[in-house]
C-alpha cells in the first residue's frame, strides 16, 4: 500500500518514476489530492531544503528532488478543485533584459515549483513590458527577477516602475536576486524581498504571503 513515507522517500531520492507511482497508489486508495500536496509533497521538499542548507544535499540532489516533486504535482493537479487550484500561489520568473544568465533563475524556478508554486518561466533577456504582461495574464502573486550583471541589475528597477505605471504593483510581491544585488539595493529600488539564494527568497515570501 502506498503511503506518505514512500512519497517522501521518492522525492528525496529524486526518483521521478517512483514518485508518480506512489501518487497513483495514494489516489487509487482515495487519498484527498489536496492532502497529498500539503502533507506529502510540500513537507518532503521542505526536508530537501533543510538538507541542502546543511550541506548534505548538493544542488543536483535538490534539483532531481524538485523534478520528482514536480512530476508528482503534475499527476495531482488535474484532480484539484478549481477552488484549491486558485489557492496555490503563482510566481513569474525572469532574468532581466540584457542578461543571458539563467542559472540562478532556473534554480529559483525549480525550487518554487517544488514548493508547490505554479510557476511561469519567462526565460532570459526579458523586457519590463513582457514581465508586466505575464504578471497580469498569469495573475501572479510573486514575480522573481534575476540579474547577474551590474549593467543589468538596474533593469530590476525598471520592471518595478513598469508594474507601478501599469497599476499592478500592489497585486504582486517582487523578489530580486543575483550576484551584484544586495538587501540595500533591493530596498532602494522598492523590491519586497531580497534573496541571497532562492531558498532565502522563498522563506521570506512565506512569511509575507
Amino acid at each position: 500500500m502506498s503511503n506518505f513515507g514512500e512519497l517522501k522517500e521518492a522525492i528525496m531520492n529524486g526518483d521521478e518514476d517512483l514518485a508518480e507511482e506512489v501518487v497513483d497508489g495514494l489516489l487509487k486508495d482515495g487519498e484527498d489530492p489536496e492532502k497529498i500536496i500539503s502533507d506529502g509533497v510540500v513537507p518532503s521538499m521542505r526536508a530537501v531544503g533543510k538538507k541542502f542548507d546543511s550541506g548534505e544535499y548538493f544542488i543536483p540532489d535538490m534539483l532531481v528532488s524538485a523534478d520528482a516533486s514536480q512530476a508528482a504535482l503534475e499527476k495531482i493537479e488535474p484532480l484539484l478543485s478549481g477552488e484549491s487550484l486558485e489557492k496555490s500561489k503563482r510566481a513569474v520568473f525572469a532574468t532581466v533584459q540584457g542578461d543571458q544568465h539563467d542559472i540562478g533563475k532556473n534554480l529559483a524556478v525549480m525550487i518554487f515549483k517544488g514548493a508547490g508554486y505554479r510557476v511561469k518561466d519567462l526565460g532570459t533577456d526579458v523586457s519590463p513590458e513582457e514581465v508586466v504582461e505575464a504578471v497580469k495574464e498569469f495573475d501572479a502573486d510573486v514575480v522573481g527577477l534575476s540579474a547577474l550583471l551590474t549593467t543589468t541589475m538596474e533593469v530590476q528597477r525598471d520592471v518595478i516602475e513598469a508594474l507601478e505605471a501599469d497599476g499592478v504593483r500592489g497585486e504582486v510581491l517582487v523578489a530580486v536576486g543575483g550576484a551584484p544585488v544586495t538587501q540595500e539595493y533591493a530596498e532602494d529600488i522598492g523590491a519586497d524581498v531580497y534573496g541571497a539564494s532562492p531558498f532565502e527568497a522563498l522563506n521570506k515570501l512565506e512569511n509575507i504571503l
Binding site: 550541506g55 548534505e56 542559472i103 525549480m110 526565460g123 538596474e154
Partner: protein, 454 residues
C-alpha cells in the same frame, strides 16, 4: 589543423613566461617570450548604461589610471582587456569609440614613457540560443563587432562563446554528466563555424585571434561549486568537467587562433601544453570576480597574468583596475625574476605544491596532470573521444591522489559514480548522439538541434 601531439610533453617545460610560439602585437609587446605580462580587465561602474557619454568617460578614467599606474610602478609591459557588455556591442559605434579612445591613450604612453602594451577586445556572444544562431541579426552584429574591433585598434580579439551552454546549464544543475558531455558536441559544431569566421576577419587587419574559453561551462561549474564548506555541487565533477572542456577550447587553435588565449579559461594550461601558444591565466588575483580554490596553480604556466574582471570602484589606494594591476604586476615581477635567476622551476614547484591538494579542481590543472590530460586529448581519434578521454584521465588522476586530497565521503561517492558513468558511455559518437538529441530536445526548452545541424 588537428593537433596530434603535445608541444610540451614534459611538465618540466610547461612554464610561466615561456611559450612555444611567442607572438608580437600592439605597441612593441611580445608575449610568451620569457616574460610574464599583467593583463588587466575592468568593467565601468556607471549609474546609467544607456548614457554612452558616461560609459565612455568611465572607460577613459580606467584607461588613464591603469596606464599611469603602470609607468609609476616601472611596469613596462601591460595588456588591457576590454570585455564588452552586450549593449556596447549592439551599438557598433560605441564599440569603436571605446577601443579608439583606449588605443590612442596607449600610444601616448608608448611615445612618452616607452610603455609597451596591447589591447584585447572581447566581444560579447550576442546570440539567443533558441533562435537561429547563424542566420540572425544578432549573429551579424557579433561578426561586425569583431570587424570593428580589428578596425578600431584591438591588438587581440577574443570571445567566450556559448554554443552548447543551454544544454550544459540544464545538465550541470542536475549533475547529469551525459548531458554535459553532449553539450560539448554542440560546442564543437559552433566553435568550428565561429572561429573560422573570426580568424578570417582578423586576416583583414593586424589583430591576433586570441582564443575562446569555456567560461560558460567549467567556470560556471566552478562558481557553483563554491568553497570547501559551502560546496553546492561536486568539486570532483567540476574538476572532470574542466578537463572535458579542453577539446572544445582547442578548436579555436585548430581553426587558426594564435593566442594569447583568453583568461577566464583555466583550461588554458591544456591549450599551452598542446599548442605551445601563449596563454592568459587568472588565479588568486581574480578573487575580485569570484572565489576559487585554484589561486596559485594557474600561475605555473601563464604568459599573461590576469584578474579576470573588476568593476571600477574607488578604494583608498585608487580605482580598482589600477589597484589590481599593481597586485598582478608584483606577481609578474616575482615570476620574471625567477626566470632571470634560472629558478623558475623551483618557484613553479612551490606554487604547484602550495595548491594542488587543496581541491580536485586545482589538482587537474597542476603541470603533470595537465600534461597527462592534454595527452589524452591529442591521442584520441575524434572530438567525442577526446572529451571522454580527458574526463576519464581526470578521474584517474583524482583517484590516484585520493589520500592527499582528503575528499569528503560524498565526494568519494561522486568520484565512483562519475567513473562508472564515463565507462558506460558508448564508444561511437553516432550512438551517443542518437541516444541524446531528442532527449535534450524534450528537456531543454532553449535547445534547437537544427542550430547544430542535428
Amino acid at each position: 589543423m588537428k593537433y596530434d601531439k603535445l608541444e610540451f610533453s614534459s611538465a618540466d617545460d610547461l612554464l610561466f613566461g615561456k611559450s612555444g610560439e611567442p607572438v608580437k602585437c600592439g605597441l612593441d609587446l611580445e608575449i610568451g617570450n620569457g616574460r610574464v605580462v599583467p593583463e588587466i580587465n575592468y568593467m565601468p561602474k556607471v549609474d546609467d548604461w544607456s548614457n554612452f557619454d558616461e560609459v565612455l568617460e568611465s572607460y577613459r578614467g580606467i584607461t588613464e589610471s591603469v596606464l599611469r599606474r603602470a609607468v609609476n610602478l616601472g611596469i613596462y609591459s601591460v595588456v588591457l582587456e576590454t570585455e564588452f557588455v552586450e549593449s556596447l556591442n549592439m551599438n557598433l559605434e560605441h564599440t569603436r569609440e571605446i577601443l579608439e579612445m583606449q588605443k590612442s591613450r596607449m600610444e601616448e604612453y608608448h611615445d612618452e614613457y616607452g610603455l609597451k602594451s596591447a589591447l584585447r577586445s572581447t566581444v560579447a556572444d550576442l546570440r539567443k540560443m533558441d533562435e537561429s544562431i547563424y542566420q540572425s541579426e544578432r549573429w551579424n552584429k557579433m561578426m561586425e563587432a569583431f570587424e570593428v574591433s580589428v578596425e578600431g585598434g584591438a591588438d587581440i580579439v577574443s570571445i567566450e562563446s556559448r554554443g552548447g551552454q543551454e544544454v550544459f546549464s540544464h545538465s550541470m544543475m542536475r549533475g547529469d554528466l551525459e548531458g554535459m558531455i553532449f553539450s560539448q558536441l554542440l560546442a564543437e559544431v559552433d566553435m568550428r563555424r565561429l572561429w573560422e569566421e573570426i580568424v578570417n576577419i582578423t586576416r583583414k587587419g593586424k589583430s591576433l585571434p586570441g582564443g575562446d574559453t569555456a567560461c560558460a561551462f567549467a567556470n560556471s561549474f566552478m562558481k557553483l561549486a563554491d568553497g570547501l564548506v559551502d560546496r553546492k555541487v561536486s568539486h570532483v565533477v567540476a574538476a572532470v568537467i574542466r578537463a572535458a572542456t579542453a577539446p572544445r577550447s582547442l578548436i579555436a587553435f585548430e581553426e587558426g587562433a594564435t593566442g594569447p588565449d583568453k583568461d577566464c579559461g583555466y583550461e588554458g594550461i591544456y591549450m599551452k601544453a598542446i599548442t605551445g601558444k601563449p596563454i592568459s591565466m587568472e588565479g588568486k588575483t581574480s578573487a575580485c570576480a569570484h572565489s576559487s580554490l585554484i589561486g596559485n596553480i594557474p600561475a605555473t604556466a601563464c604568459d599573461l597574468w590576469s584578474n579576470e574582471s573588476v568593476e571600477n570602484l574607488k578604494l583608498f589606494g585608487g580605482n580598482t583596475p589600477e589597484v589590481f594591476l599593481e597586485m598582478l604586476s608584483y606577481d609578474c615581477r616575482t615570476m620574471n625574476e625567477s626566470l632571470d635567476l634560472s629558478k623558475e622551476k623551483e618557484y613553479r614547484d612551490i606554487l604547484t605544491a602550495s595548491n594542488k591538494f587543496l581541491d580536485p579542481q586545482a589538482l587537474v590543472l597542476a603541470p603533470e596532470p595537465a600534461v597527462r590530460i592534454s595527452k589524452a586529448v591529442v591521442n584520441a581519434e575524434s572530438f567525442y573521444r577526446s572529451v571522454v578521454a580527458a574526463a576519464r584521465e581526470a578521474v584517474k588522476i583524482i583517484k590516484e591522489n585520493g589520500e592527499n586530497l582528503s575528499l569528503p565521503q560524498k565526494e568519494r561517492g561522486y568520484l565512483e559514480k562519475t567513473e562508472e558513468e564515463l565507462e558506460a558511455l558508448p564508444e561511437k559518437k553516432s550512438k551517443f548522439l542518437d541516444e541524446n538529441i531528442s532527449k535534450y530536445d524534450d528537456r531543454v526548452k532553449e535547445f534547437e538541434p537544427e542550430n547544430y545541424g542535428l
